[in-house]
């Protein structure tokens, strides 16, 4: 019987080696190693053997089984590897084809700059406020120390609406609303859409964006204002900027300033961008006029503050060198897709 087992094993081994695919080999496995396979048949015959013979035959049987299983596993792995290799070899893919599907859209450049400045101020403890686009004369003018016959009202060509209201000409009304809402001390900014009755051309718009800023506290000085403006502008332009204050007249501040930054094109040497002055006018600011604090319900004997107005539209145009302000509200995707 041992010889029979050995012969069977030898034959089976030869067939495993000869098998050209997994199926063929599987057939051999079932035939020889299966539950009803040839080796199992031998196993049944073992009972008829003597104890001695049984030990020897069992050994031969196990030996055959082990070597066949090993051969089988080895060959199976070879087949699997070959199959996987074959599959992978057929899976050449051109990964240089641009991906299909949705290309992300874009945020309007004004949104982008607003977000940047908002987070800058938020990190410095300023809260972000909104105000209505349609305002009362009180909030837009009177409360800001601009009485009805004040020449400053000439400077702002106002859109008047039926019902006695107007389209806010600046974000400054939010100063008053902010003071009334928050009370002192406070730090706030208010970005938003403002309107001026102006003919539209490449550098003038009737609809544009401003950002109002205000800080009210016990002692607020021009030196503090300078500090915030320098920090703000260095944040916006992502570099150290040189600023200067010069007198500017705005009824809601006293003293009032125009803030200039040193021209970043020429570094102050003088060039066409800065009209050869070395400086670019950037924003109006000042210490809050006591009358304005009063309008906001704050006692000017106890508190002072500074305020500023930043032209976001102008800032966007400066940053991206946009030559025509009308692009910003054109809704033209040829323009907007660039941002």
């Amino acid at each position: 019987m041992i010889a029979e087992v050995e012969a069977l094993a030898e034959g089976a081994l030869a067939r495993i080696h000869a098998a050209v695919n997994l199926d063929e080999m599987e057939a051999v496995r079932v035939e020889v190693l299966g539950r009803k396979g040839s080796l199992a048949e031998f196993g049944k015959r073992m009972g008829k053997l003597s104890a001695e013979e049984r030990v020897a035959a069992g050994k031969a049987l196990n030996g055959a089984k082990t070597s066949l299983e090993a051969a089988f596993d080895l060959k199976k792995t070879a087949f699997e590897t070959a199959a996987l290799d074959a599959r992978l070899a057929g899976e050449w893919l051109d990964l240089t084809i641009p991906p299909q599907g949705i290309v992300p859209g874009s945020l309007h450049p004004l949104t982008q700059i607003q977000n940047e400045i908002e987070s800058l101020f938020f990190s410095m403890g300023f809260t972000i406020l909104d105000g209505p686009e349609v305002e009362t004369e009180f909030y837009n003018f009177d409360a800001l120390n601009i009485p009805p016959d004040h020449p400053a009202r000439d400077m702002q060509d106002t859109f008047w609406l039926e019902g006695g209201h107007l389209l806010r000409t600046h974000t400054s009304p939010v100063q008053i609303r902010g003071m009334q809402r928050l009370g002192p001390p406070l730090r706030m900014i208010a970005p938003g859409r403002v309107f001026r009755n102006e003919e539209v051309d490449p550098s003038h718009e009737h609809t544009f964006y401003q950002l109002e800023g205000m800080m009210v506290d016990r002692d607020v000085s021009i030196a503090n204002l300078l500090y915030f403006m320098k920090t703000l502008l260095s944040g916006i332009f992502k570099r150290d900027v040189t600023v200067r204050l010069r007198p500017g007249f705005f009824p809601f501040v006293e003293p009032g300033f125009e803030l200039d930054i040193q021209c970043m094109v020429c570094g102050g040497e003088g060039c066409p961008v800065c009209k050869h002055s070395g400086w670019v006018e950037l924003l109006p600011c000042g210490l809050v006029h006591p009358n304005v604090l009063r309008s906001g319900g704050i006692n000017p004997d106890e508190y002072g503050g500074f305020a500023f107005g930043l032209g976001l539209t102008r800032l966007v145009m400066m940053r991206y060198l946009i030559d025509d302000i009308r692009w910003l509200q054109s809704g033209d995707l040829r323009f907007l897709k660039q941002f």
């Binding site: 992300p104 908002e118 300023f126 016959d149 000439d154 859109f159 539209v200 809704g331 995707l333």
Partner: protein, 759 residues
């Protein structure tokens, strides 16, 4: 406002910086300069010359002239002036050699206009004696930066600034000893001192009206004032210098008293500019006993104007109420050099100074002139000069730096403030020309001191403040989340205008009356405020479809709705558009539905009861969160937009609140397996899946975890087959087959009850 450097240097002693530096210093310390220009540029290098010979040039209107110049020797040149004749003394300008009419013309002979003296261009200038003029630099100051400074509308005021900045002595051009003395001659009555606090007038006789001398013409011309006549030029000189506006009447054309009164309603006046104005009782006039002579503070009348035959004049120097002048001037749309100054609130103390200065100038330009008596001076009781208590420690806290007290006092005194030193504080008296409107509180003095010492001397200082996280603006944060979701889905953000036209309103069928009207629109197509973002969306489609076959965009903006009273309601909306030039349009609508779900995953779509005229009749759906209607998705009717234009319009107000109100809550992961079963429902054509789903949900017990739409197809007879997968589960145990079957049977019953069949 233009300032002559020569004029300023006559008023600031020892002015040792050039015009460009003056311009820079004024910008840094006082008001914004727009730059420096040269006036009379040709005067540089020019010199007198005598014409020696003149020779006609054939076929040319020019002549060939030989001239003897005082600086450059003999020159030959071509000249086109009709008065170019031998023996004429004129001005030569070296310009280099140029071939003119066949002559090598070396330089030119100049007209008065070319030299910047006046507008006389009829011939070359005819010189008697020396010209005595030099090129000047003109510094242009932005008028807007002078609105609060009545005193800076004249050279004397600006000279005071410069003198204070540079710490140089100021020269007062006025000598009060030149003010005529004697009894007043011209009677004056002021009816309302509120409108005219002061009216001074001086009569002169022996007047000869003629041209003013070149130096006066040149100086006035350099700052943009045309020379009219010797007398009028004097009024302009005083205006540009002091800056008191004055007016000269022909005294023989005044009947009796001068009366300063309100105009009669409808009273008419033919003004000096040739226009006739109809006045109202809000306007102030200078009248005599016969009628109006002039519109006070704005313009003189033609009838009383001085002319070539004028022998006697009444020289008016008055002060008027700033707002009254401003109102009249803007109502008549007539802004004059006088009205511009009066509306800034001029100093009532300045009227007699102007007469003293005028008396001096009139004698220069009209030597035979004689003052008759002294000035009439009718004057309200003038307010005392305000006194401001200025605490020095407070001043330093405002500035953010300290200063020696002597420097503070020096600055104030150079700016003509009166100062009494009280130790820690100063009592500061405001000069009359700064007291009309400009300076009244200590904060105003912070500016005077800060700007004069220079803001550049203040170093930035971080404020001492508590570190507190500021409150978050949740609304803005929410909008930014939406923006970020939309851009991730391929939408580009647009900003549209808040205005629209009546035609645009009509196009979307919104009645004009529903909009807030702009009373003074720039153009008629911007006369209404938007009550929906859709007008902008429509325009975005129309504009962009010319350039793209497919595009996506969105806007977050405010609708503005009329309210019965108070401010209008501003409602934030998000509008998104998807455009495709071809296709069946489903893609865009589905994408917008996906976008809406990305904003709010529980958003429900419900067929709109009725399509609006501009919508595809079968493609509009309403968006709900719970039971709240929040928006709409629709396709534009092809008559409105060619191609496939899908729109999402979402009301953000309630959405923000509702999403904030839905707290996220953890559900424990189920430990027992769920089961699923599919239901395919047969419905009549055009049945919405939401109706079927509604039926399914109506019978669902709380074991139903999910009802999910799987697929649809349409049968040949038009019926729809809609398949749903239902997931059922229990937290505590595995559901039994009976329970699952019961759930399924319940749903089938509900489907049948709703009038559908199981396929």
């Amino acid at each position: 406002m233009k300032f002559s450097y020569q004029w300023l240097s006559e008023l600031v002693e020892d002015l040792d910086i050039d015009a460009k530096e003056v311009s820079r210093r004024i910008t840094l310390h006082t008001a914004e300069s727009e730059g420096v220009e040269v006036h009379g540029a040709l005067l540089k290098g020019a010199c007198p010359a005598t014409v020696l010979t003149v020779e006609a040039i054939p076929n040319s209107h020019n002549v060939k002239a030989e001239v003897e110049t005082e600086l450059y020797g003999k020159k030959t040149l071509a000249c086109g002036a009709p008065n170019c004749r031998a023996g004429l003394r004129t001005m030569y300008v070296p310009l280099g050699v140029k071939r003119v009419s066949g002559v090598d013309s070396d330089g030119m002979l100049a007209s008065a206009a070319e030299l910047g003296i006046n507008s006389d261009h009829d011939g070359i200038i005819e010189l008697e004696g020396e010209l005595g003029l030099e090129a000047d630099s003109i510094i242009e100051i932005d008028n807007k930066s002078l609105t609060h400074r009545p005193d800076l509308w004249g050279h004397y005021g600006m000279a005071r600034e410069l003198a204070a900045i540079l710490d140089k002595p100021l020269v007062d051009p006025v000598s009060m000893e030149l003010l005529p003395v004697g009894a007043p001659v011209q009677p004056v009555v002021i009816e309302e001192f509120g409108l005219c606090p002061r009216y001074s007038a001086q009569v002169f006789e022996g007047v000869t009206v003629g041209e003013s001398p070149w130096w006066m013409q040149y100086r006035l011309g350099s700052i943009g004032l045309n020379s009219i006549s010797n007398i009028v030029d004097v009024t302009n000189w005083v205006l540009a210098e002091l800056p008191q506006p004055t007016h000269a009447f022909d005294a023989d054309k005044i009947q009796g008293k001068i009366i300063v009164r309100r105009a009669k309603q409808g009273e008419r006046l033919l003004a000096l500019n040739g226009e006739e104005y109809e006045l109202s009782a809000d306007d102030l006039v200078i009248a005599d006993e016969a009628g109006a002579l002039a519109i006070a503070g704005v313009i003189g009348g033609k009838a009383s104007a001085i002319g070539p035959d004028t022998k006697r004049i009444v020289f008016e120097s008055a002060n008027f109420n700033a707002s009254a002048i401003r109102k009249t001037s803007s109502r008549l749309k007539l802004r004059t050099d006088a009205s511009m100054r009066f509306e800034k609130a001029q100093d009532p103390h300045n009227t007699l100074r102007a007469i003293a200065r005028a008396a001096e100038l009139l004698e220069m330009v009209c030597p035979e002139i004689v003052a008759v008596g002294g000035p009439t001076d009718v004057c309200a009781e003038l307010k005392p000069m305000p006194v401001i208590h200025l605490s020095l420690p407070w001043l330093y806290r405002k500035l953010g730096r300290e200063l020696p007290k002597s420097q503070v006092i020096g600055i104030l005194e150079r700016l003509a403030f009166g100062v009494v030193d009280q130790g820690e504080a100063l009592e500061v008296t405001v000069p009359s020309w700064r007291a009309t409107k400009d300076v009244s509180i200590p904060d105003d003095l912070v500016e005077e001191i800060g700007r004069t010492v220079g803001y550049a001397t203040i170093d930035p200082v971080a404020p001492a403040m508590p570190v507190v996280p500021p409150p978050v603006n949740e609304e803005r944060r929410f909008y930014n989340q939406l923006r970020s979701v939309a851009t991730q889905q391929g939408f580009h953000e647009v900003y549209n205008y808040s205005f629209l036209s009546e035609a645009q309103a009509a196009k979307l069928g919104v009645p004009v009356e529903a909009h807030i009207k702009v009373l003074n629109p720039i153009a008629s197509d911007q006369s209404l405020m938007r009550t929906t973002l859709l007008h902008g969306v429509l325009k975005n489609f129309e504009d962009n479809l010319k350039n793209f076959d497919q595009f996506r965009f969105f806007e977050i903006g405010k609708e503005i709705h009329k309210q019965p009273e108070g401010l209008p309601k501003e409602v934030a909306h998000l509008a998104a558009g998807f455009y495709s030039s071809g296709g069946d349009g489903a893609e865009g609508l589905r994408e917008l539905e996906r976008l809406a779900r990305a904003f709010a995953p529980t958003m429900r779509f419900q067929p709109a009861a009725e399509a609006r005229p501009f919508e595809h009749p079968l493609r509009s759906v309403e968006l709900y969160l719970d039971t709240m209607l929040l928006g709409r998705i629709f396709e534009f009717h092809p008559n409105w937009v060619e191609g496939r234009a899908a729109v999402l319009d979402l009301n953000l107000g309630p959405l923000a609140c509702m999403l904030a109100g839905i707290p996220k809550k953890y559900q424990p992961i189920r430990r027992f397996p769920s089961s699923e079963f599919d239901l395919s429902v047969l419905t009549p054509a055009r049945t919405f899946s939401s109706e079927v789903e509604k039926a399914l949900r109506s019978s669902a017990s709380n074991a139903v975890e999910q009802i999910q739409f799987v697929r649809e197809f349409t049968l040949p007879d038009g019926q729809r087959s809609l398949s749903f997968r239902v997931t059922v589960a229990n937290q505590e145990r595995t559901l039994t087959q009976d329970e699952i079957t019961a759930e399924r049977d319940g749903m089938i019953a509900a489907i049948r009850h709703a009038g559908f069949e199981l396929r």
